[in-house]
Subunit: 490 residues, 4 copies
């Protein structure tokens, strides 16, 4: 449904390709699901004196709305290296305009641009220190802190400056940095967020998900290892290889954001060493094993998904029911309208009536008098779920059984996922009392995966590989929970 946690961002960088900005544009199109509020591209070009310059175009809107002018790419976003970013705005549209990434600045080593997916846990503290030293800030993001750290480094080698800065920051970061002569990708030691490396002809790409390679017909090389940085420069083009540097000698255990598998990443992407769709099918399978749905009269169960994000889990769920000899059938019970774009929802009573119907309609023939297993990947506030179930009820099903392919969300994320405040989380509100949530949503039964069941589904992974903080309240990087979350988003 629409009431989902929001991913913080998608990043893309390319070095050594003739149409760097165009490739970046296509990459951002493929990563649109990671951030739909704003996007930007910065391209490395040279001015008439041969001096490297950064040309940037960024705006609120969808990628296709922001980059809708051919001339932009012909005359302005030219050059053989570029980075780009998709983002969610957290606050008011106008305010957030200044927070649109990539950020570009100049410092004593020249131009610097950065695009960041994730959230720093010591961003606030570092910002305070910098401010006390006389730093001025243009944005309210923690990403700007990284730029200041690089600029204030006493080291002389730019790669070392960047490494030093990245060693000082804590939290989640999958980052691409563009300088006058190199592209750098880096991932935090726990590897919260995905970041991979690809190759397109002679050029190299660093980006959030492999689907951004696929759209460009680029080859997947490797994922960026947690706690490493990847350096691509002119030598890389000559040698057709890239340098990797460790950010630290200490080893910490991986803590992948499990929500990337549950909902954020595209099912056609490969992250954390696995295909997303496989993990998502597995979640559906375990959900059916542990929380099957049967018809009380022994009739066939109709399994439907909330399109499109739960389609794969629904397939896994129904297939497992069959294996368990529960008579069931996968059906398309909800049609999602994809033409609507940014629909203008009119105010007034009409709007409340229309509600979820703008996006969804039921296929009445498949639901009437049937026991329906409705598969969704997660519930945040529960308001959209409630509306959707009301809509389903109008098609007169016998019963509706809601199955969620992840556990109840009860704790805030400090590493880059954007939730409403704790108090708005339905599971927190009802004290994880599933019966009360079921009653509120008005379904005949409701089952979530438990944390253990969810981790069981994570084939080819150790149970320790994941951050489950939003479900468990166990934070792999300590955060001061007395402090409001906002302080981590300075």
């Amino acid at each position: 449904m629409d009431d989902k946690p929001k991913c913080s961002c998608g990043v893309f960088g390319i070095f050594g390709a003739k149409d760097a900005a165009i490739t970046t544009y296509y990459g951002l199109l493929a990563l649109q699901h990671r951030g739909q509020e704003a996007a930007g591209i910065v391209a490395l070009s040279k001015n008439e004196n041969g001096k490297p310059i950064f040309n940037i175009h960024k705006k609120l809107g969808l990628v296709s709305e922001i980059f809708n002018d051919e001339k932009l790419f012909e005359n302005f976003l030219v050059g053989e290296a570029a980075i780009g970013h998709n983002r969610y705005s957290t606050t008011g549209a106008s305010d957030s305009a200044k927070n649109i990434q990539p950020f570009t600045v100049t410092y004593r080593m020249g131009n610097l641009a950065i695009a960041h997916n994730g959230n720093l846990t010591n961003g606030h503290k570092l910002r305070e220190e910098l401010v006390n030293e006389g730093a001025i800030f243009q944005t309210t993001t923690d990403t700007e802190v990284i730029l200041h750290l690089i600029a204030r480094s006493k080291l002389t080698d730019q790669v070392e400056q960047i490494k030093e800065a990245l060693q000082k920051i804590e939290g989640a970061f999958s980052i691409v940095i563009l300088t006058n002569d190199k592209l750098i990708g880096a991932k935090d030691p726990r590897g919260f967020k995905p970041l991979c490396i690809g190759k397109l002809n002679e050029s190299f790409i660093v980006t959030s998900e492999t689907c951004a390679l696929d759209i460009n017909s680029a080859e997947f090389l490797a994922e960026v290892d947690p706690g490493t940085m990847v350096i691509i420069d002119n030598d890389s083009l000559v040698n057709q290889t890239y340098r990797v540097e460790k950010l630290s000698n200490e080893t910490v255990s991986k803590k992948h954001c499990i929500f990337e598998y549950i909902y954020f990443s595209r099912p056609d992407s490969r992250i954390f060493g696995n295909n997303v769709d496989k993990m998502r099918r597995k979640l559906g399978k375990v959900l059916a094993q542990k929380h099957p749905v049967v018809d009380k009269d022994g009739e066939k169960v109709i399994v439907i998904s909330v399109p499109d994000s739960s389609n794969t889990a629904a397939i896994g769920f129904q297939r497992q029911l069959t294996k368990q000899n529960i008579d069931s059938r996968l059906e398309i019970g909800l049609i999602r309208s994809h033409y609507i774009g940014r629909t203008f929802i009119l105010p007034g009573q009409k709007a409340r009536e229309v509600g979820v119907k703008i996006k969804f309609n039921t296929v009445k023939g498949v639901l009437e008098n049937k026991t329906v297993a409705l598969i969704d990947d997660s519930i945040v506030r529960g308001t959209t779920s409630k509306q959707l179930i009301k809509l389903l009820r109008e098609a007169n099903p016998k019963e509706i059984h809601l199955r969620i392919s992840s556990p109840p969300i009860v704790s805030p994320c400090y590493y880059g996922m954007d939730f409403p405040s704790k108090e708005e989380l339905i599971a927190y509100k009802f004290g994880s009392n599933i019966e009360e949530i079921r009653d509120y949503l008005d379904v005949d039964s409701l089952e979530y995966l438990t944390i253990d069941e969810m981790l069981d589904a994570m084939v080819d992974h150790s149970r320790d590989d994941f951050c489950t903080a939003c479900f468990s309240g166990i934070y792999p990087i300590p955060v001061d929970q007395d402090v409001t979350k906002e302080i981590y988003e300075p």
Copy 2:
């Protein structure tokens, strides 16, 4: 795939509701799939002297782009009756601006607005006659002919004038007309295109598909019978009923556009007395019965659809394979990007490379080394299909078997569907030689439904109920085939 025939339009009318234009706006949103190039709404209001006036807003673009200003509905599109229209533009954007419906004119009985789905076969002849009598035309559409016929009627009663005009026209028309004091819906005697009647509180709605009722939480009352017109006026509001008049005493057999079931209508709509999704599942089922796919090594067959239009047929197909004891599995093998909106495709080599990848990506894990049954509802030019199959090949399937849930398209439609010219139709080009098409598309096997098989799938219908002209070349209303198609689209 994208290479589909184009539906000519969607229409919506409402009479007797406070926010008539807002309801129409939501209706057009639900009908967006019937025409994505332009839309318009005309609302019946009164000026300061109490005289009825028509306020109209129409433009090129998606419904959500055209009606994106609340003030439009607050200050301008006010009043208790309205009609709206979605359309495809056939030619250049600028030229077609004047052809955007609804059309509004004034004549001696006051204001008149019309929105039309379908195409007239005697439009050209009637237009010629009118022009010779001194009529002036603003558009190049046959719809304008209807307005002239109404205005030139010697009859004094407006309903009779409209009836007389509708009796003179031939071809396909599902129409809504708004006058100073009534809403009229009418369908041609053969009932080519869908048109239904709904009720929202005290008000009445006439619209193309039931999904436009659902979005407004309106009740479905009935379909408009072929060869009838429905009159809704203030009396209807008082009596809570509407008048029906026959256009002619002669009876002709129904000739529904079978493509409405195959592709045009939304699967959640009910048209021609049946649920669209049911018919579409049945088409998939017959396709599997007659043209199953088996793995040459006896392994599991992976059934995938070209999302989203073929999803239902794929479900029917896979289910039937199972019934036939063919080991198969429904999978999501193609991901369709829905965020992209009106993507700006950049020019140059890059564009050619990116091609179909902007919209589709494969889920590699489910395709690799598998025998894939790819279900699509139709093929027009075949160019997009070819690209898509090339994309699938990159995921290394064992074999790709393409199954089409309709017959080869070989003849032009003169009743409202928009194809490329006959010469561009892949089936026409290869003289219906399926082996040659298979070779061109580079699939391991290719099967279409035959016309007979397709008609077999039309449960609850007589085989005679349908127009199959585009597959059979048999035209239920004679058209002069020596004449180019354009002459029917004056």
Copy 3:
């Protein structure tokens, strides 16, 4: 000041030039003062089959805003003939969109486009007759009547059809018409509005004012004589001459709109056989002769104009004072802001305070303690004048004497000028009691020209050459004054 009568329009047509639409664009730029609400250009081109087609672009806004895309002229408004139009919208912006000229239609002789300056007095009657015969109307303008009359002509020659139509209409019309193969200009028998003929290389131009020739470096050939039509076609290009036809054999006396000299036309244009600036200077001169301003203490009088429209009259006024040995000096006492464009006036109290200050500021040094003669060309409602005088008072002049270079406006115009309703005219409101107007405006003295004095100033003209209806209430073409003015603007 801003509170001026509004001119109904400017027209431009060209035949036989390579960049016909570009020349038209520049012509409309020069005629922008005649209509600032909307503009349009239609260009005669050929489609791929060599068939003549009309491409049109028209919109609400300034010429520079509407035609701000080079591609429009490169790809769309191509061809060797074009006509254009500037207009004022009379009612709501949205409603009037359909009334933007040129109008283009097709009829049995092909394409037809028209642009019209003026107002028909029998438009309403003709429209009624046409409507009763079954005509349908797209606009609420009387111009559309002309198109119907042409289309319904029983004659076979197109020029004769047009002539017949023009013979049927009464009132004021300076018109350009474009057909598939000719450009026609025509002026009503009384010659209310200006229309002239020019030549640019081999091509011919017909346009409202000579300033539209000047901007294109075109040569002025002649004015179109009242009651004649000018035909320009391919023969004209060969023979380098144009045909003239009389609309009627009857002769009526000329009745030029005297407001064209007073305010509408640009001072650099030549109309009705004379330079506008000369007549305007003469009006100022007579104003000084008959209504001089002297300082009560014998000090120098400061003569200032309301810029820019009254600048020339002020020069004439001051020069005459000198001739009469009245010590005076021309100064710039009011600065008009020209950068502001379409200023967004914010609502609320602030807006009322700011008022006229958005456009005007005083030059304090030249006004303080001085007797000021303020020259304006006309007063309509008087509200802006009142505000402006309040503004001048803040600069502490000794006295302010307002002199108007035209008589009080007391009657509506039925021939194409756009006033507020009679009741809003300050002179009508105060029953032409100048002392009361003076009191309302808060000036030390107020004098208008009398009608006789105004006509005296019209050197090189007979006194009978002019329509003075708005000052005298004497209408050269009878209008039914019991009928509201609106009926003449159907």
Copy 4:
């Protein structure tokens, strides 16, 4: 003419008024002539927690285009203090977007916004120092240097921090600064650029010219003295007075930019202690004394100005001719089109032909066979002048004598005026050889004011009060002339 030096900017600040941003908007409208490429407003508001926040809206375009949405002021630019800025962009549109002022940042004392008119001569040096200390820069302007200097101050009092920063910078600066709780205005010790203080009810305003007070009906209090800063805070509102602090104890002589009198400032403004229009009239008077124009046949000389900037000088010129008993007459010989806005000049041959005619047309009647004295305030490149004189020649004057109310421009300005490069200056190009310039422009005679004559015209001023660097090459603040000008605009 259009070929003028460009003023660097206009600034406006207000503290203590309910609609601070609206007042700023009107102020920027009045200052539009000082910068027409971009504008911005930042308003000081409070967030939901009562914390001061800065809301900013800035864009390329005219003030009326940028602030064209009422909602902006209702919902976003709220609060009781605001500053605004108009600017010229120096380079490409896209690049300069980041350089649009006001700039806003946060530092350890909270929010900081700045708007700057002028140019720093040590900006480049200071920037280099800052960069070496690890500062990062967002813009390429010297204004950003000031923000860094404030943020890096070791002092604890904010006013002292700002004072310290202003003491470090050299060059021309008329500045407004907004902090969380105060508005600060400051002028460099030489007072290159105007800056004045006004009062609107209880609130205080600091702005470039008095015309920005007039539009708001605000009272003029005083000019900001060179080398001082003005502090307005809540105490000022209580005491209804403002604090003034000296930037330095040292005294340097005033060096007003004389071009403010010649061309930049509006004639209705008061700057440097005098009315601009008075000084401009005086320049015209001295021009006539020293460089009169007489007709060779003793006939009347027609004095015309290049509207509107030279109107006042032309009045002074003609009046002096009369005093010298030279028979002359002031006429309007050139009409300037003010409707055209940002005219889209079409490419190709047509554009070259149209050239200056888009903006100007001659009034032929007043020029034919006359000796014309054409008054202009300055010549930069001379290209527009040349075109304009060509245009005048088409009206067949007897002779054209060009008189310039300032000396030849031969040297670049390093203090905030924007010229083309030295090599493009016509006077530099022809080595100040006026005869050659005359020949190039094709006038019968050409005379400039000498520097001495110009200074003679500066009544109520000492000759030392002015910077005449662009005419004399004598720079009041040393600049390294070997260095290109660009280095001063980092």
